[in-house]
């Protein structure tokens, strides 16, 4: 188990390194000089030159990359050009807001999606199954930012049931929760559908497996077969899906944060881009990428713990 976890972690580190290489290539190799862009058209040649030197842009490309790489591993993502604050601090300030949003979205979509998937699988082919099927497909199809805008229009503007803007007063949990409802609805709604579908599908697949036939032939009760023998296998794909899904949720949360004027990584990046504040952009991308990879490593380790076959195949 430990070996498996270590291997998985090693792979994660390699993936992050490759991702950093790509990020570096994208930002620094593609034409357009960050220094002159950052300073705007009215900057003098000397100003640009001095900023270039300060940012290390006058060095050969591979030295720039090595520096970027080494400092990133030390946790130094550079400093913001204008305010001079460390980028990591700025990004980490915003991270909790995004995490809260994603946690909210995951919890309610899992709590709703798994039971719906089970019900659909058990009542396969029936009316309830069909309704759950159509609804799942529908909520998956509609883009989350449209859901965000429409729910803002309906619940905040028209009905005025819930607040439209911000993350709530600091320290006031009730207010924060009220501010969380609409954004997490927008981010999580599609996931109810995804989870319900995958649980239904893997449940049906598992129920057809020959070991389930064996269990039936030994007279085990349907309850035990469904919820103990089959569900244990059927939730495994859900965990993988959620790991990958964190990426999608980070994307949806960008929209949710902009629509609901909520602080967070997405809003930070969006605003940094409009003023061409590159260090913030790369820093935020790196932090979210690391976050994504870490979540996936954890998801794989959880699966390894639940499924002895996975552990064995990694040895």
């Amino acid at each position: 188990m430990l070996r498996y976890a270590l291997k998985r972690l090693g792979l994660g580190i390699i993936i992050v390194s490759v991702a950093m290489m790509m990020l570096f290539a994208m930002v620094y190799v593609i034409p357009g000089d960050p220094a002159s862009v950052a300073l705007g058209p009215r900057a003098t040649q000397e100003m640009v030159e001095s900023l270039r030197a300060r940012m290390g842009l006058d060095q050969p490309i591979w030295i720039q990359f090595a520096r970027f790489y080494m400092s990133a591993f030390r946790g130094d993502l550079g400093t913001e050009v204008l305010s001079g604050r460390p980028v990591l601090t700025v990004v980490l300030e915003q991270l909790p807001f995004t995490l809260t949003l994603i946690a909210g979205a995951i919890s309610w979509s899992v709590l709703l999606g798994i039971p719906l998937g089970c019900i659909a699988a058990v009542k396969r082919g029936g009316f309830v199954d069909r309704v759950i099927g159509v609804l799942s497909v529908a909520v998956i199809a509609v883009p989350s930012f449209v859901i965000a805008i429409y729910s803002l229009l309906i619940f905040a503007v028209a009905l005025q049931w819930l607040p439209a803007i911000g993350a709530g007063e600091p320290g006031n949990v009730i207010s924060q929760l009220r501010h969380l409802i609409l954004p997490s609805l927008a981010v999580g709604l599609g996931w109810v559908g995804y989870i319900a579908r995958i649980v239904r599908a893997s449940m049906l697949e598992t129920l057809e497996a020959s070991h389930i036939r064996t269990a039936r032939a030994f007279g085990l009760t349907d309850r035990r077969i469904t919820y103990s023998y089959a569900l244990r296998i059927a939730v495994l794909p859900t965990i993988t899906l959620l790991g990958v899904g964190i990426g999608h949720m980070l994307s949806s949360s960008v929209f949710a944060e902009i629509v609901f004027a909520r602080p967070g990584i997405g809003k930070l990046v969006y605003e940094a881009i409009s003023v061409r504040n590159y260090p913030i952009v790369t820093g935020a991308v790196l932090v979210t990428t690391v976050f994504f990879v870490v979540v996936n490593v954890i998801a794989d380790i959880v699966i390894g713990a639940l499924d002895p076959r996975v552990r064995a195949s990694f040895d």
């Binding site: 497909v137 930012f145 805008i149 995958i198 990584i265 790369t282």
Partner: protein, 284 residues
């Protein structure tokens, strides 16, 4: 003639499913309205008329007007052209690239496979929208940037599926049999592997069309997609969002076509998949 009869049979099978009929209807509606936008629209989509700003829906303006008096109905029709052409173009490009890379990774040498897998994993580990925003800042907002984003985001998915299938088929007995006869890699890939992996991936791609529509609209909503004044559903939403408290109809006009298009293509794709490849059921 035979082909037409075959297509007709498929259409009849789709329509027999309620969801398929609804999906096909919506898709036909969206495609026709985009094709005949110039006939159906009563105003040019970019024509300003400051006198009519913020007009709610009426017979002159079926969906109302926006903050600079452009007719929303006309903009929605022309926006459909943009959305659909990006969806088709970008999906097609990603498919071609994805299939080629997948075949190379699955059939080629092990080291190349490992490198490609790492690249795919790394690409997928960037959150889509943040990656898109970063790219667009570099390349500037344009139609091509949107296509580029879609390709970068969807190629790893297609390639991975094709790779897995290819790996399985590579050691399948019918491929071994062809190799033992002396067939070369080109023949094995095109005759013995590709026809067996392409069906599922085409269906998956058709189900990705709504995703591409959403990416285009999303980027345009953030002002990072097609440049104004080109009409796009996303930019209509952007215009409307600024005025959501007073002129709700603008966001409604921008959002509805997105919802109808994504639902239409998804329902159609689901039905196609259930009819032609039940094995894929439940894949997301």
């Amino acid at each position: 003639m035979l082909r037409l009869a075959k297509i007709w049979r498929i259409v009849r099978r789709i329509v027999r499913e309620p969801l398929g009929a609804l999906g096909l209807g919506l898709v036909v509606l969206v495609v026709l309205s985009a094709l005949f936008a110039d006939v159906l629209a009563s105003y040019p989509p970019t024509k300003l008329s400051p006198a009519d700003r913020f007009a709610p829906a009426s017979f002159q303006h079926l969906l109302g007007t926006d903050h600079i008096g452009r007719d929303l109905f006309s903009r929605v029709l022309y926006g459909g052209r943009i959305a659909l052409s990006i969806a088709l173009g970008a999906t097609g490009a990603s498919l071609v690239i994805g299939i080629m890379l997948g075949l190379i990774a699955g059939y080629g040498p092990r080291w190349l496979d490992n490198i490609l897998l790492l690249v795919f994993d790394a690409l997928k580990s960037f959150p889509t929208v943040i990656l898109a925003l970063t790219l667009v800042t570099i390349t500037g907002p344009s139609l091509m940037s949107v296509v580029l984003v879609v390709v970068l985001v969807s190629v790893p998915g297609y390639a991975r599926i094709i790779r897995t299938q290819t790996l399985v088929l590579k050691s399948a007995e019918h491929v071994m049999a062809a190799r033992s006869m002396g067939a070369g890699s080109a023949r094995i890939l095109t005759v013995h592997i590709l026809p067996n992996v392409i069906g599922p991936i085409l269906i998956l791609a058709s189900m990705d069309i709504p995703v591409v529509v959403a990416i285009e609209a999303g980027l345009s909503f953030l002002g990072m997609g097609v440049r104004p004044p080109t009409p796009s559903w996303g930019s209509i939403l952007n215009d409307g969002f600024a005025n959501i408290r007073d002129s709700y109809w603008i966001v409604v006009a921008g959002g509805l076509p997105i919802i109808l298009t994504t639902l239409g293509f998804t329902f159609l794709g689901e039905t196609l998949r259930d009819l032609f490849d039940p094995r894929l059921k439940g894949r997301v």
